[in-house]
């Protein structure tokens, strides 16, 4: 309530003193790759940010100041992310940064952001096992995507044998590690978990698909949990379709395939396969309808919305409210104001910013439709994001609480803070 009144005050101020807007521009850094391999995913997020900033300026900006976007291009080059982040913070002197997609780019930026006390909003689902004082993670932690999807496999589909297929990098590796531990805690034998890693852009899937089919030989129902990234999905789903595997025989749940990725695929053979996210374009709420209309109006009718866009949508609006509540853009003040911020999700319900810098968000599971969209068949209530997973022994004893403990890596056994910087 306090935030809303503060926001209202800010809005009245803004309307009462329009002249102020020119004097105090608030700079918002946008650190997304506009060229290179990640451009396809990240350009969308840059446009999302520009849309959001324009919308906010149309509403009168924040605390009477106009927002100005500073867009830089780190070109999918990980060291360049660190360089550009430093440039944003020291040369352009931005007050907040929205950016990054891949984990490695985030790890590259972390030391710079922490050294210069910047503020970063990171919008993509990630592997967790990290907590930085200077980063708000608005995407899903593993317990907000991977664990609920696995529960769905276990309980609703009765899967008894798991194939964890992933691209060989940090997100699939960590997620699969967590899932292996989780499945074993759910009495799935180690022999019933098949793990495979492939390179980025892998295209020769016939043997792996044959291996997965062969898993069914001991009479257990097989399911695939896919953390396959990007382009490689195309070959994978093509091979799956060619092998005549329907979602009823061997369901595949993907954590990295959203509306944007499906737009490069003919989905008629994939109907019924699954994806788990915190947002699908097909969610039926008024806020979502407005957002889709605004997005399509700006970018074109054929464009789709996806989960990381919603993460920026929530993250940006929370930041705006936090600035309004703090009355200034100072990083420490805004961070304190962020805790407990609430903002309605596009899928219904309310997202809350937790002291561990993660959101509580609902988890949705959707089935792929022939139109390249997802049919939502399961929606949980809000799940609080967990920085340190409870299913790996080393991180189970760690918690993150920047509000009261002032520590992102607090060991509950020794009751001490392991480190106040993040691990990169």
């Amino acid at each position: 309530m306090k935030t809303t009144t503060a926001l209202a005050t800010a809005l009245t101020l803004a309307t009462a003193l329009p002249a102020l807007a020119d004097d105090c521009t608030i700079k918002v850094g946008v650190l997304h790759s506009l060229s290179g391999t990640m451009a396809i995913s990240e350009t969308t997020l840059k446009d999302t940010m520009l849309t959001l900033i324009d919308q906010q300026n149309a509403k009168g900006g924040v605390i009477g100041c106009e927002l100005e976007a500073v867009v830089v291009d780190p070109a999918s080059d990980w060291p360049l992310f660190a360089e550009k982040a430093r440039e944003l913070l020291t040369v352009h002197e931005v007050d907040v940064i929205f950016g990054n997609w891949t984990s490695v780019s985030r790890k590259s930026v972390l030391p710079v952001i922490e050294e210069l006390n910047g503020l970063l909003f990171y919008p993509v689902q990630y592997e967790g096992e990290e907590s930085s004082k200077n980063v708000f993670y608005t995407g899903a932690a593993p317990n907000q995507q991977a664990i609920p999807a696995t529960d769905y496999f276990l309980e609703e589909l009765g899967i008894e044998k798991f194939a964890l297929l992933g691209t060989d990098y940090v997100y699939p590796r960590t997620t699969n590690n967590i899932l292996e531990a989780y499945l074993q805690s759910k009495d799935i034998a180690k022999d019933d978990i098949f793990v495979n890693y492939t390179p980025f852009g892998h295209s020769d899937w016939s043997k792996i698909v044959a291996d997965v089919v062969a898993l069914g030989a001991d009479g257990k129902k097989v399911g695939v949990i896919s953390t396959i990234n990007g382009d490689a999905n195309i070959g994978f789903y093509k091979e799956l379709a060619a092998a005549g595997i329907s979602a009823d025989d061997i369901p595949v749940v993907a954590f990295s395939v959203g509306e944007e990725e499906l737009s490069g695929l003919d989905t008629s053979n994939l109907v019924g396969h699954l994806a788990a996210w915190n947002y699908f374009q097909s969610a039926e709420t008024d806020a979502n309808a407005d957002w889709i209309a605004a997005w399509k109006g700006r970018m074109g009718e054929e464009r789709v919305t996806n989960d990381p866009m919603e993460a920026h949508y929530i993250g940006f609006n929370m930041w705006v409210n936090a600035v309004a509540a703090a009355g200034k853009v100072d990083v420490d003040a805004v961070r304190d104001a962020m805790y407990g911020q609430e903002y309605p999700n596009l899928t219904g319900g309310t997202a809350v910013m937790l002291p561990n810098h993660h959101l509580s968000k609902p988890v949705l599971i959707g089935e792929i439709t022939a139109e390249g969209q997802f049919d939502i068949i399961s929606q949980t209530s809000e799940v609080p994001g967990d920085a340190w997973t409870d299913f790996l022994p080393e991180s189970a004893k760690l918690v993150s609480d920047w509000k009261d403990l002032g520590c992102g890596m607090y060991n509950t056994e020794t009751k001490s803070c392991v480190q106040t910087l993040s691990n990169y």
Binding site: L34, S35, V71, V72, D73, A75, D77, W78, P79, A82, E83, K84, R86, E87, T90, V91, S103, V104, K107, S108, L110, P111, V112, E115, E127, E129, E130, D168, Y169, V170, R173, T174, T175, N176, N177, Y197, P199, F200, E394, S395, N411, T414, S416, C417, V418, Q419, L421, N423, Y424
Partner: protein, 391 residues
């Protein structure tokens, strides 16, 4: 002897003077020590460029003077970076871990510390065991030695096999490219023990150093300038003597040199290994400034760009390699960094971010076709000197 070498090569003295002047200027204008006109990120960029110039000098020695087009020197560069990166990560993490563990009731055992470091470093990439190759990561001296020894050893083994089998020309180029691809694929694997795609990060934070980055960046800048100066001197000295004549002979007509009784393979192997060592040092200075090293850095394309820089600068002359590298890499980062203003043609807006690579590729074709001596060739025109050094 040294004096006569300098006297015979006035360009070396000129180069070193310019480098010293440049270093002094940047220091005086920097944020850390001086006027603050040159930002810390600019100091880092310039320092990295000096490292690239150093590897370009090595590339010029192997390609411009010896005639071996290696498409694998960035692999050595990356290995150097990984070697120093291992120590930086290990030591930084060890300090954190020891501080945190000593808060426990019992003092930590060495096993506890080792396990906690492993978990901190590799927990990020989904494992916690210490791979064997990190055995010496706790020793700065050994890892520094590895910066030279590991690239050197790889180059020696690879070169020994390749030169012994008389693999030459484009075959050798493709083979070196395959080696680079193999190394980068290996590093991409999480199982390689070097954190796979994530690589080693946070390298700009020196363990135990509390000085701000504006100062640390200058230290590395000076170190890079010094390394470039020494590397330049070394290579200039190597090519000026009899050794230099022999390798130029190999470049121009390998068979004749062999018939004269020289062991062509030994000369090639010596140059290949030496340049790999120089590349390793350049990499070890580069990546702490970049902050992160990962397998994408070692991808074959990087080594090809290196050849492009040297070719544009003019191979067969060391200052040409330096000029080409400094120019192209700085201009590249200016264009791709989004600072260059877009050109609006009315019907189409040229975004440099998109079109720079097209331009670079085509200009490269043009240089190869019409200006094989590169930018360095311009100096010949100015000096009206007989262009004897070029290929």
């Amino acid at each position: 002897m040294n004096r006569s070498f300098i006297a015979r090569n006035p360009s070396v003295l000129i180069f070193l003077s310019i480098l010293a002047l440049f270093t002094l200027l940047v220091t005086l204008l920097s944020e850390g020590f001086g006027a603050g006109l040159v930002s810390t990120s600019m100091v880092k960029t310039l320092g990295k460029t000096l490292c690239l110039c150093l590897i370009a000098v090595a590339m010029d020695l192997i390609w411009g003077y010896t005639g071996i087009l290696s498409l694998g020197h960035f692999a050595f560069f990356g290995l150097g970076g990984y070697m120093i990166g291992m120590w930086l990560m290990f030591e930084r993490t060890r300090q954190i871990v020891v501080t945190s563990l000593s808060e426990g009731v019992l003092p930590p055992t060495p096993e506890d510390i080792q396990a906690a470091i492993g978990n901190q470093i590799f927990g990020v990439v989904g494992s916690s065991e210490f791979p064997l190759i990190w055995m010496f990561a706790d020793s700065l001296v050994l890892q520094l030695a590895f910066v030279v020894l590991v690239p050197g050893a790889l180059a020696f083994v690879f070169g020994w096999l390749a030169f012994r089998s008389r693999v030459t020309g484009v075959y050798l180029s493709i083979l070196t490219q395959a080696m680079t691809l193999g190394l980068s694929l290996y590093l991409f694997q999480n199982a390689s023990g070097l954190r796979g795609n994530n690589g080693l990060s946070g390298l700009q934070n020196l363990p135990g150093v509390t000085a701000p980055q504006s100062v640390v960046s200058l230290w590395f800048f000076w170190a890079s300038a010094l390394a470039l100066a020494l590397g330049y001197l070394l290579v200039a000295w190597v090519v000026s003597g009899k050794f230099g004549s022999v390798i130029r002979g190999i470049r121009d007509n390998e068979a004749r040199v062999r018939f004269l009784g020289y062991s062509v393979e030994s000369y090639k192997l010596a140059v290949f290994t030496l340049t790999a060592c120089i590349s390793g040092i350049a990499g070890a200075l580069y990546y702490p400034q970049a902050g992160i090293i990962n397998p994408a850095e070692v991808a074959p394309i990087a080594s090809i760009y290196l050849a492009v820089w040297v070719a544009i600068g003019g191979r067969g002359r060391l200052y040409g390699a330096v000029i080409g590298t400094a120019l192209v890499s700085l201009v590249s980062s200016w264009f791709t960094g989004g600072q260059a203003p877009d050109v609006n043609l009315g019907f189409y807006t040229i975004k440099w971010v998109d079109w720079w690579l097209v331009l670079l590729g085509l200009s490269f074709v043009l240089v190869t076709l019409y200006a094989p001596r590169g930018i360095g060739g311009l100096f010949d025109l100015v000096a009206r000197k007989n262009p004897g050094e070029g290929p």
